[in-house]
Subunit: 402 residues, 4 copies
C-alpha cells in the first residue's frame, strides 16, 4: 500500500488523459445511515462516529473512486453553529478527523485525498471579502497541516464567492478544483456557466466544473457550456462533474433545493445503475475526465461509473467481484425469468415504473427567488423560532394551495 505522497497527483493523472473517478456525496448517504442531520447537513460525524465515515470511504474506494474527499462539507465555523446547531466538537476537530479518515482509507488503495470547502453563510449574509476568506482560511490551515493531495472548492451558487475560495485555496500551493452548483442558466445572478468557468480559471483553478443541485445529464450539459466558454477565452483547464443521483427534469435555476420533495421524498428520483452508466459515457464523451457524484450517490452508483469506463481505465473496481457487467450475475439466479434478464439490452432500455400511481412524474418547484443578501438567508446563531416559521408556512400554503 502506498504511503501518503507517493501517489501520482491529480494533475499528473489528468494531464496524462487518465480518467479520475470521484466519490459520492457523504451528507445524504450518512443521513440515511443515521449520522448526519438533514437541516444543517454538517459533518460532525467525522469526529463523533468515525467508524461510519471510514466505512463509507471504503465502500467508495472499493467502487473505484480515485479520490477520497475529506468529509468537511459545511465544516466552516460559521455554518457549524447556524440556527442552534449545537455541536460538541470544534470546527478544527471535525476538519482534522475528516482528513485522517480520508487519508487512512486512501492509503488502502490508489486514491488521493482532496480537502474540500463549500459555500458559507457568511457570504449569504453579506460579510466582507476578508471575513469570508478568513472562514475558508481556517479550513485550509487544517488541510495543509494534514497534507492533503489537492483542494476542492465546491457547491457555490455565486461565482464571486467561488472566486474568493479559489484565491484562498491557491495560497496553499496545491492543485485546486472548483465546482459550482449551477445549471445551464448559470449562477444565482445569471452569470453564465461559460463566464463562471472563465472567472474560476482566471482565479487560479486547475479543474472546473459543477457539482450537486442537478441530475447527471443536466450537469454534463452545464460543464460542456463551461468548456466552450473556457476554450473560447483561449484558456485551458481540466473538467469535472459531480452531479446528483436524482432525476431533476423539473428544476429551475436553484436546482433540487426548490423541488417540493427536497430533502425527504426524493426516493422516486434515484438513478439506477444503468442511468449511471449512460451518465459516465456522456461525461466521458463531453471531454470530462474527473467524473464523480454528489448527493444521492451510493457506492453502487460509483461502481457503475467505474464499470462503464473500465475499458478506458483498463481495470474493474474491487466491488465488481460482487457485480457482473450488464447484470451477468443474474445468470446465477434460481428463477428462470430472472436469468432471462441477464443481458445488456434488457437493462439498457428499461423504463422503470414508480409503483406510485397516485403521484405525478414532475413537480412544480418552489421559486421564492431569494438569494444573497435577503433577510431570510442571514446567519443566525439562535434556533429558528416558531414566530419565524409561521410566515414561511403561510407563504407556502398560499403558493402551493396545500
Amino acid at each position: 500500500m502506498a504511503p501518503a505522497g507517493t501517489q501520482r497527483g491529480i494533475l499528473e493523472r489528468l494531464d496524462a488523459g487518465e480518467i479520475v473517478v470521484g466519490d459520492g456525496g457523504f451528507v445524504f448517504a450518512l443521513e440515511k445511515r443515521g449520522y448526519v442531520k438533514a437541516g444543517p447537513w454538517t459533518p460532525e460525524a467525522a469526529a463523533e462516529h468515525p467508524e461510519a465515515v471510514r466505512q463509507l470511504h471504503r465502500e467508495f474506494l472499493r467502487a473505484g473512486s480515485n479520490v477520497m474527499q475529506t468529509f468537511t462539507f459545511y465544516a466552516s465555523d460559521d455554518k457549524l453553529e447556524n440556527r442552534g446547531n449545537a455541536l460538541s466538537f470544534t470546527g478544527q476537530q471535525i476538519n482534522e478527523a475528516a482528513c485522517d479518515l480520508a487519508r487512512e482509507v486512501a492509503n488502502e488503495g490508489d486514491a488521493l485525498v482532496a480537502g474540500g470547502v463549500s459555500q458559507t453563510p457568511s457570504y449569504l449574509s453579506c460579510k466582507s471579502e476578508n471575513d469570508v476568506k478568513d472562514i475558508f482560511k481556517k479550513q485550509i490551515d487544517v488541510f495543509i497541516k494534514k497534507n492533503v493531495d489537492f483542494l476542492i472548492a465546491e457547491y457555490f451558487e455565486h461565482v464571486e464567492e467561488a472566486e474568493w475560495a479559489v484565491q484562498v485555496l491557491k495560497t496553499s500551493g496545491k492543485p485546486v478544483a472548483a465546482t459550482m452548483c449551477i445549471g445551464p442558466t448559470g449562477d444565482m445572478h445569471g452569470v453564465t456557466p461559460g463566464d463562471c468557468a472563465v472567472r474560476l480559471v482566471k482565479a487560479g483553478a486547475d479543474i472546473v466544473g459543477v457539482n450537486c443541485h442537478f441530475d447527471p445529464l443536466t450537469c454534463v450539459k452545464t460543464v460542456k457550456l463551461m468548456k466552450e466558454g473556457v476554450e473560447k477565452a483561449g484558456l485551458k483547464a481540466h473538467y469535472m462533474v459531480q452531479p446528483l443521483a436524482y432525476h431533476t427534469p423539473d428544476c429551475n435555476c436553484q436546482g433540487f433545493i426548490d423541488l417540493p420533495e427536497f430533502p425527504f421524498a426524493l426516493e422516486p428520483r434515484i438513478l439506477t445503475r444503468w442511468d449511471m452508466q449512460k451518465y459516465a459515457r456522456e461525461a466521458y464523451n463531453a471531454g470530462i475526465r474527473y467524473i464523480g457524484g454528489c448527493c444521492g450517490f451510493e457506492p453502487y452508483h460509483i461502481r457503475a461509473v467505474s464499470e462503464e469506463l473500465s475499458q478506458e481505465r483498463g481495470l474493474l473496481p474491487a466491488a465488481s467481484e460482487k457485480h457482473g457487467l450488464w447484470a451477468s450475475e443474474l445468470k446465477m439466479h434460481t428463477k428462470p425469468w430472472v436469468r432471462a434478464r441477464a443481458r445488456r439490452d434488457y437493462w439498457e432500455t428499461i423504463k422503470p415504473a414508480s409503483g406510485r400511481p397516485q403521484c405525478p412524474s414532475m413537480s412544480v418547484p418552489d421559486s421564492w427567488g431569494v438569494t444573497k443578501g435577503h433577510a431570510e438567508l442571514m446567519q443566525q446563531k439562535e434556533a429558528t423560532t416558531q414566530e419565524q416559521l409561521q410566515p414561511l408556512f403561510e407563504k407556502t400554503v398560499k403558493t402551493n394551495g396545500i
Copy 2:
C-alpha cells in the same frame, strides 16, 4: 452492556405486549454497498468483509432495532454452491461468522440475536423431506453452538417447506418465528394466508407472519388474514411483518421477483420515511407487534418505524439524535422555503414525483407460473450456460414484445 443471555427474551417481550422493532434486509443493502452479488444473493460477506456487515448491524441498532438477525440468508450449503457460485468459505464458516457479528453488535444495545434460515434449492428440486430438513439442520447446529436467542424461518413460498423448517427449528428448544414471502392470495399452490398460518402454528411456530416480496401495506393485509385464520382456528400466536421497502401495487402472487424492474431498476419504488411511518402505524393497528423490514430497507427506514412508535415504546432510537420528528430539523436549514417544510402536514400529504416523465407508474409483471418441481428451477452446481440462457431470452422477447 448486557452479556449474551441476560436480555429479556423475544416471547417475554411479546407476551408483555411490547413492540419489537426488527432490522432491515441485508442482501439488498449490502449489494448497494458492494458486498453481495445479486444473482445468488448469498451472505459470504459475513466472513469476507465483516467490517461492512458489522457496520450495517450497528446502523440498524442505532435506528432502533431490537433484533440483530444473523446474516445467514441463503446460507444453506445447497444454495451456496448453486450455478457456479464459487465461494472461498464453507457454509459453516459463514454461518458462524454471521452469528458472531450479530452477537457483538446486539450486545452494544438492547437487542436479541435471531438465527435465520430460508427456502432451499433442495425443496424446489423436489428433494425428500429428510434431505431438506438435513439442510436446515446444519444451520441450526451453528445457531445452537453460538447460542442465538431465537430462530426465524423466513422467505418461504411453499407452506410445506416452511412447516419442515419450523419442525427442525423447534428441536432447538428456542422460540421460533416463521414468515412466508406470500401475498393475500397465498402460497405458490394457493394455500391461503390463513391456512398457512394455522399450519405453521400447528408445526410449532410461536410467531407467524410474512416477509419480503410485497410492499408494507400489502404485507400488513396478508398478516391480518393470517391472524384471522389463526383466531378462527382457536389457536394463539404472535404476529410479525418484515416487508419490502418498495411500492408494489402491480405485483401478482409471486411478488416483486416478477416485476420487470427486479432487481436492478427498483429505485423509483423505494418508500420514503413518511411511507414507513404509515406502515408502522398500520401494522401496529393490525395487532402486529414484531415490526421490521426486508429488501430495500435502509437504516433510516427502520428509524422511521421507531419514531412512529416512539410514544408506544417510550423511547426514541439513538439515530434520532440526527433526525427531528416530522422533519423538525429543517428549521435549521439556510433557505427559508426549506424551513417552510419543517412540519408534519407537508410531508404527510406529499405525492412525490418520479422525475421520470417517460416512465409509467405500474408495470406488467412476468408471470411464467413456474414453481416447485419445474425443470428450470432445479439445483445445478455448474454455471448457467449460454445455451441454457438463449431460450429464456427468447421467451421474454416473445412475451414482452421487447
Copy 3:
C-alpha cells in the same frame, strides 16, 4: 330502405348467433357538442335541437350500430324536473321526439329502434313500488305508441329497481334487455353480478348485462360473472355490454361518478380506437353478442368495434370508407415517419403518453357511501340552495385536503 318492422328483430339476430353492435352514449357526446346540461343530464335536446340528435344517430349508424337507442335517458317525469331543471317541453314530448328521430335514422340502414328507461329519483327517494312503476309506465306508453322494436332498462344501481323496470317493460310484449351500472362487486347493496343477472332473467329480461360506470374490460369481466350466475342457475339469456369509453382502474363500487375527475376532467382517460378493438375482441370472446358503448363513446369508437368484428359480421361499416384497418390510411400521409406508422403492431402496442407530467395516473375515488334512502339523495323540485351546498363543500375539503 326498410320500413319500420321489416327488420329482423333483436332476438332473431341474437338467437342466430349474430353480433349486434350498439351505439354510444348520447348525453356525454351531446354535452360536448353543446346540447345537454351536465348536472341533470336530461335529453330535452330531442325536442329542442333535433338536428343535433339526428346527426349523432347518423354518425353511429355510419359507424356500424345495429341499434338506435331512443335518446330518452333520464326522461322520466320525476327526473326532468329535479332540483330546478326548468324545461319547456313535457316528458311526453321529449320521449316522442326521441322515438321519431331514432326511427328516422334507423330506417336509413340496418338498425333497430330500442326504447330506453333508466333509474329514477323516485326509487332513490324511497317511493313505493307502484309509484316507481308508474314512472316507467309513462315512458313505455310512448314506446308502444311509437312502436319501437325492443326495450332496454339500463343504468340501474339497485337490482330491485331494475326488476321493477323489467316487469313493467315486459307488459309491452316486446323483447326486453336489462343492464345495470355495476362492477364486479355488484349492486349498491352488495348483490353480486351473478345474482343480479339471475333476478333480471327471472323478472323476464331476454338480454342482460351492464352499461356505464366502468371501463370496457371491467364491464366485460362483470358480464362474465353474470353469465356464470345465469348458467349456474340453469337459466338462459343473451348478454350485452355498453361500457364507458374511459379507463377507470381506480374506481370503487360506484364507478366513475366517484372519481374526482367526473364529469369535467375525464379527458386523459378516453380510450383510443385500439383500446376499443381490444374491448370488442374480449367481449366477443366472453360470449357477449350485443356490444355497444355508453358515456364517452364517440362514433369512431363504435367504428373500431365494428372493424374489429368485421370478419365475424362479414361487413365493414359505412364510415370505414374514411378509415383503414389498423391505420393503413397513414400510407397516404405526406411525412414518411407518419407513413411508418401504417401498421398494426405499432398501434397495438403503443403506450400513449398523457402529456401531463404534473398529473398522476390514478386518483382516489370519493367514497361517501351514500345510497338509496339517504337524505342527500331525495328528489327535490326546487333548485339546490347555497345553504345546501355549503356543508357538501366542507365535507369534500375535509376528505380530500383540498
Copy 4:
C-alpha cells in the same frame, strides 16, 4: 339574421379592440365523426356529407365562434390527389361546397366567413414560386366568387411558402390573416417566430400568428415572440392563435406530428374545458384578440374560451344555456358528492389522472429531420407501395427499439 356582407368586418372588430373567437379544427373532429380520412386529411366531406359539416359549423357557432372558416384545409388540387387519394369531387366542387356551408351557418348568427388555404405538396416538392402560387390562386378564385369575408393562410411550416400564400391572397383585396404551424424555435429552417411575423406583415398580412402543431400555452408563447418581433421592427399587426387541444410538452420543432401518438393515440392529451379557460386568459393577457382552435378542439372547448372571456365580450354563447360557469350546473346533480364539485376552485386546481398506470406522461418524439426537398416528401399521385413502406418501417424499428 344578417345577410352576407352586413356584418362588421374582421378588421373593424379587431381595430375596435374586440375579441374575435375562432372555431376549432374540422379535420380531427370530423375524422372522429366518420367523415374525414386521417392519412390525406382532405375535406371532400364538404361535398359528400354536407349535413355533417353543417352540423359542426353550427356547434361552433353555438359555442361562440365569430368566424366560420371554410372547410377547405388541404383542398388544393395537388393535395387532393396525393398518394392514391381517389376522390369523386373536383377541388373546385369541394371548395365551393365548403363556402356555401360556412356562409349558410354564419348567417344564422354573428359570424364572418373566412376562406382558408394551407401548405402544399408542391412547395415540399420544390416546385417553382409560380407553380405554388397557381395552386393557391385556384382556391382564391372560388373564395372571391363566393364572396367570403376575409382570407386565412394557415398551417405553414416554411415562412417562404407562407409569404407566397399571403402575396396571392392580397390580390383579392380582402383582409388577410396568416398563421404558421411553428413553435418558439421557429420554422423548419430555423427562422425565428419574430422574423417570420415580420416577413408575413411585410408580405401584406393584417393578422399574424400560429395555428396547430403545439399546445395552447406553447402557441401563446410563440405568438408573443411574433408580437415582439413585429413591434421591434416598428410594424403593426393584429395577432391570432389557433392551437391544438392536446398537451404537447414533449414536442420538438415539428410539433405533434413527431409524437409517436400522432394521430391515433392522442386521447390522453386532450385538454379539459378548464385548461381551455387558462389558455383563453393567457392569450388575452398576451394581447392576442383572435383566439380560436385547431386539431382536437370540440365545440365545448370553444365554449370554454367564450365563457372565460364572457365579461370582456359582454355576452355568453348560445351553448351556455347547457353549461354553468365553473360547473355550477352540477348543483343539479343527484349525488351530493358531485354537487360538492359545483365550484371554481375544485376544477381550477384539479390534476386529472390518466387512468393509464402503464403509460408514461411524456414521449420521445420522432426526429427524422426531413423537410422541404427531401425525396420522401415528394408529391406522388400513385398509392404508396409496400416496397416504399418497408424501409420506413425498418427505420422506425431501429430508432425506437420497438
